[in-house]
């Protein structure tokens, strides 16, 4: 094995012996010095996860979150130097993490927080202007053929839990005690300008947005959403998406998106 392979393996395994060949000027046990590197690696990565998942942390407490993150870091160190994406595997890990089973909504709150980080760093794009919307909606005959482009920052999370209300209660919006975590909610995450917004999408909104993303025309996407949810309300959904700057174009398929 190469020297760096041995060094790397010992960084992540607290039970591994100190790599051979390390020395100190005073002949002291190099393991104590090697422990500085071990600590730097694990603590800095735990810090990165704690930054990405602040509400997840508040839900279980800092001590629990950091201990859980430590297990994750050792099992799955980053595969990229771009740490903004490091948390992507953490929600699935939380779902399988036995000691967190008593908080069944924890993994979905973490998924929501990961969508927020992605939205924060996503590409910039201007939302459709009110004039463009008015023009696109002027002729009701053409409505079903319209195609919508979603903002690059847009993410949707459909959960069996009240992810949006739980998250909002930790921003000082609403009362945590009043949230029933077992009410299913669908979160829309999108950045408008510099601010990432988290809003609750009414039933079928996730299907509509998924339809847009796969290139379906408005009529087909709405039909699909309505067949998935009897309560689906296209006007309400479009108004919500437009209000939050979630769409960057509305155009006929014969037109090219601006």
């Amino acid at each position: 094995m190469s020297d760096q392979r041995l060094f790397a393996a010992a960084l992540l395994d607290p039970d591994a012996p100190c790599p051979a060949g390390l020395i100190a000027w005073n002949g002291s046990d190099p393991a104590r010095r090697f422990a500085v590197y071990r600590n730097n690696v694990v603590v800095s990565l735990i810090d990165a996860l704690a930054d990405t998942f602040p509400v997840t942390l508040e839900l279980v407490g800092e001590e629990f979150l950091r201990a859980m993150a430590g297990v994750f870091v050792r099992a799955a160190p980053p595969g990229s130097v771009l740490l903004a994406e490091y948390g992507a595997g953490f929600p699935a890990f939380i779902e399988r993490f036995e000691p967190a089973r008593s908080v069944p909504y924890l993994a979905d709150v973490a998924r929501l927080e990961m969508l927020r980080v992605r939205a924060f760093h996503a590409a910039d794009a201007d939302p459709v202007t009110p004039e463009q919307v008015a023009r696109a909606l002027a002729d009701p005959e053409r409505l079903p053929a319209l195609r919508a482009t979603c903002h690059p920052s847009l993410g949707v999370l459909r959960s069996d839990h009240a992810v949006v209300s739980l998250w909002a209660a930790h921003q000082g919006i609403g009362d945590l005690a009043g949230v029933d975590p077992d009410v299913p909610e669908t979160a829309l995450v999108v950045r408008a300008g510099l601010e990432v917004q988290v809003v609750s999408l009414p039933p079928g909104g996730d299907v509509l947005v998924a339809g847009f993303a796969s290139g379906l025309a408005l009529g087909d996407a709405a039909t699909r959403a309505a067949s998935a949810h009897v309560d689906f309300d296209l006007t309400l959904q479009l108004a919500l998406l437009l209000r939050h700057g979630a769409l960057t174009s509305l155009h006929l398929s014969t037109e090219t998106a601006p």
């Binding site: 190469s2 020297d3 760096q4 392979r5 060094f7 790397a8 960084l11 060949g21 390390l22 020395i23 100190a24 000027w25 005073n26 002949g27 002291s28 046990d29 190099p30 393991a31 104590r32 010095r33 090697f34 500085v36 590197y37 730097n40 690696v41 800095s44 990565l45 990165a48 160190p77 980053p78 595969g79 990229s80 130097v81 771009l82 740490l83 903004a84 939205a119 924060f120 760093h121 996503a122 590409a123 910039d124 690059p152 920052s153 950045r191 510099l194």
Partner: protein, 305 residues
């Protein structure tokens, strides 16, 4: 700011574009932190430059680029890489090098620097600057990686001396000799981290002044100053940890004065990455560094007169 001069050939024949003092002004700068974005634009503090960690800005859009563009319009910029893993046994990550090249094209920084360290292995990234043995095999590998980096980025890079906690039984040369040989072979410049020189000096009981004096000081394009934390090794000897989480220690200011005496005025960054204080606290440290730089300038002028 950057003086456009023709490419020169390094000792190994690699074209390296040389820039005067690598372009940064001989003033103090600060690491750019998101919590200070808005305040910097609102108050436009009198400061020599800002420095960013390249990897934090390798994202598509959003507030980081929004603010960096505006701050770049007002200040000189240094881009400091923390993830290229120049000392790695494996090959450099070409995709990462391409991303760095795109970032440099976008922001046209006056300086780009990286570390004499490794941080990746077998596809894993350890988010720390890990130490290297100073032997001929490592020297060749590091030089190859620096040649490759300078060719791809089409500029001279500055290489930062490390803070280390262990030494290697396999090392056949001391750190200053190793670094001097890298500079000679690749034509790269030096980022002299005075805190690292001090921390490593204490940790390996070597004299930091002797160490600094043995480096190729004419190639220093930037200085870093930072704070450390104190620990103990297994024998109870002091072990200093390069945390970037405290004010600069008096001993490091003294060593900085020693270095400036030999270097003359040099662009100097106050590095603070943890427990980040309000902007005015960092600006006060920057002003302190600028006083030392002005002293160095004065002494130089007097000597010439």
């Amino acid at each position: 700011m950057t003086m456009q001069t023709p490419f020169e050939l390094s000792a190994r024949g690699v074209p390296v574009r040389r820039t005067y003092s690598d372009g940064l002004p001989n003033r103090a700068g600060l690491g750019l932190k998101p919590q200070h974005f808005a305040e910097i634009l609102a108050t436009e503090p009198d400061l020599g430059f800002f420095e960013i960690h390249a990897e934090n800005y390798l994202v598509a859009g959003g507030p980081f680029h929004h603010y960096l563009h505006r701050i770049r319009d007002r200040y000189p910029l240094s881009i400091h890489g923390v993830g290229l893993s120049i000392g790695a046994e494996g090959p450099l990550d070409i995709a990462h090098l391409d991303r760095l090249a795109a970032l440099l094209d976008r922001y046209q920084p006056q300086s780009f620097s990286e570390h004499l360290a490794w941080s990746t292995h077998g596809g894993a990234f350890f988010n720390d600057l890990l130490p290297l043995p100073y032997d001929p095999i490592t020297l060749t590998r590091v030089c190859d990686h620096i040649d490759q980096t300078q060719e791809r980025l089409r500029r001279r890079i500055l290489l930062e001396n490390p803070a280390t906690y262990v030494e290697f039984a396999d090392s056949t040369m001391d750190e200053a000799t190793f670094i001097a040989e890298i500079v000679r072979r690749t034509g790269c410049g030096l980022l002299l981290d005075v805190n690292n020189a001090y921390v490593s000096g204490v940790n390996h009981r070597r004299d930091p002044q002797t160490y600094i004096a043995a480096l190729p000081l004419s190639e220093v394009g930037e200085i870093h100053l930072a704070g450390f934390a104190e620990d103990r090794d297994a024998a109870g000897a002091p072990l200093l940890i390069d945390t970037h989480g405290a004010a600069i220690a008096a001993a490091v200011w003294e060593l900085y004065a020693f270095a400036l005496d030999r270097l003359g005025p040099t662009p100097t960054l106050i590095e603070r990455d943890n427990d980040i204080p309000p902007l005015p606290v960092l600006l006060a440290e920057a002003r302190c560094a600028e006083q030392w730089i002005e002293d160095a300038q004065r002494r130089r002028t007097e000597t010439m007169a």
